[in-house]
């Protein structure tokens, strides 16, 4: 008998083969896929995120945990889709126009996925209108903008403006990236800024609830 706790621990420790095996074993025991996600994967990712915020672990451990989670999700996603179960919240994410860096964006996407968000990843160098179209198409509650370069930060402002101009007033815009600050977030009228990928999950959950 495998347990949710074992799955959480395997994900947190980045043991992807164990995690996959336990996921399969839980399903074989007749447990519903959504329960495996919510009670096994999400707590595991949340635990590693918490350690990351406390500087007990760093990016490598988060990446390895996220990989384990992703491989479990590959087993679970088709089953969830068959059962017609969709994540409660959807986030559109991308690196803003002119910026080709994706490491930070990918980390946030993985962590959000680990908190059971539906993720629409638009990649890098994403023009404002593409963010707007994706929010409309997927009825997203959140749009997450990443930038690594000080020279591409102005594209965050134009993207926020484009989202608002499209009448998407209740969509929450999150911004992040090495040079981004809370001041900059406030200045451009975005709804939230977080310092790192683990804090981004807390912020995303809080903002999505107020959508």
């Amino acid at each position: 008998m495998s347990t949710f706790f074992e799955l959480s621990r395997a994900v947190e420790g980045g043991k992807r083969n164990d995690a996959k095996q336990i996921t399969q074993s839980l399903l074989d025991q007749g447990i519903k896929p959504l329960e495996v996600v919510e009670q096994g994967l999400v707590p595991g990712m949340s635990a590693i995120g918490e350690k990351f915020k406390n500087n007990e672990v760093f990016v490598p451990e988060m990446l390895i945990a996220a990989r384990a989670m992703k491989e479990c999700m590959a087993i679970l996603e088709p089953l969830l889709a068959d059962a017609g179960i969709k994540p409660k919240f959807t986030a559109v994410i991308g690196t803003v126009q002119g910026d080709l860096h994706d490491i930070g964006k990918n980390l946030v996407a993985m962590m959000l996925k680990g908190a059971n968000f539906g993720i629409v990843d638009l990649g890098t160098n994403v023009p404002p209108e593409k963010f707007v179209a994706a929010v409309q198409e997927h009825n997203a509650q959140l749009v997450c903008l990443s930038a690594l370069l000080t020279t591409t930060m102005p594209a965050m402002r134009t993207t926020v403006q484009a989202v608002r101009d499209a009448g998407l007033t209740s969509v929450k815009v999150l911004v992040g990236g090495a040079p981004v600050t809370q001041d900059f977030c406030d200045e451009i009228g975005a709804d939230g800024f977080s310092q790192d990928a683990a804090s981004a999950v807390d912020l995303a959950l809080r903002l999505a609830e107020t959508y």
Binding site: N55, P60, I64, G98, D99, H101
Partner: protein
């Protein structure tokens, strides 16, 4: 007389490396998001002019415009086939400005993804990616190889090993640090001591730091001390930003003046940093003041 190698020279007298390239190209009309490496082929006169401005400022290390010159990074622009041609060209353009008294520093930046088990790339694949770029830089006339802005000591070490496999030239390894919970660490969580040790273990001749996330001038001085301590007498390098980026009226800027940077350069010399240069937000004016301050110490 034959020019001494960079490693020999930097142990005899303080050397100044150059400063930012990207922002200088933006001032010359490069669009945000445009492929900086394309400028080697499309605007060679601008590249040489920036190199020359740094050389005239007193910088003897001239860094090639090839930060994103790996197959993996050029591939993002659909230009992965240009590695050999454009890195060779980048070295030739830097050599034009470096002159007989200067060193052409063949620049290698991060490959843009993660090594196993964090990512999908194996060490062997990564060494091959770096080797291809480095071979072209050497072919174009590089006097040393700089593997820079690294976060993962595994990636930096792969770059150093690839350089050593491709050439006998000196190899420099630099990391970018941030401050987390009061300590300098790379994004991957590596401490200064471990990072610098890994660089020398892999065979670097010179190791240190460049860039950095939100570090003040005082932070750079402290970082410099830790690098010198970690290097245990071996040559070191530090290329700070012009302070931490600030925001005014929605514009991002770096506000350290040339005088501020000259003062920092002086202090970095005093604590034993062998090569001082600049990164984000620095200009030929900053580097001129820094080189002058270093000359006064010498």
């Amino acid at each position: 007389m034959k020019k001494p190698t960079l490693t020999e020279a930097c142990q005899k007298f303080p050397l100044t490396c150059d400063g930012a390239m990207g922002t200088q190209l933006i001032e010359r009309g490069m669009k945000i998001g445009e492929c900086g490496m394309c400028w080697n082929a499309e605007h060679p006169e601008d590249i040489v002019a920036v190199h020359q401005a740094y050389r005239d400022a007193g910088c003897r290390l001239i860094t090639t415009n090839s930060f994103g010159g790996t197959r993996s990074m050029l591939g993002r622009h659909g230009l992965g086939g240009k590695v050999a041609a454009w890195n060779r060209l980048a070295a030739r353009l830097a050599a034009k400005a470096a002159g007989p008294e200067g060193w052409v520093i063949g620049d290698v930046g991060p490959f843009g993804d993660f090594l196993e088990p964090m990512g999908d790339t194996t060490v062997e694949e990564l060494e091959e990616i770096f080797r291809e770029q480095i071979a072209a830089l050497v072919d174009g006339g590089a006097d040393a190889i700089l593997v820079e802005t690294m976060s993962d000591p595994g990636e930096l070490s792969a770059g150093i090993r690839a350089a050593i496999a491709a050439t006998d030239l000196p190899v420099i390894g630099t990391y970018t640090f941030q401050k987390s919970a009061g300590e300098f660490r790379t994004m991957m969580g590596t401490s200064v001591a471990d990072a610098i040790q890994a660089a020398f273990d892999a065979g670097a001749s010179i190791a240190g730091a460049n860039c950095g996330t939100d570090l003040s001038l005082d932070d750079y001085l402290e970082l410099g001390k830790q690098i010198v301590a970690a290097a245990k007498g071996r040559p070191t390098i530090l290329q700070p930003n012009a302070g931490a980026p600030k925001m005014r009226d929605g514009e991002i800027f770096y506000d350290a003046t040339p005088e501020d940077m000259a003062d920092l350069a002086c202090k970095l010399r005093t604590i034993g940093i062998s090569i001082v240069g600049g990164c984000c937000g620095t200009t030929p004016q900053h580097l001129a003041a820094m080189a002058e301050a270093s000359r006064l110490i010498e």
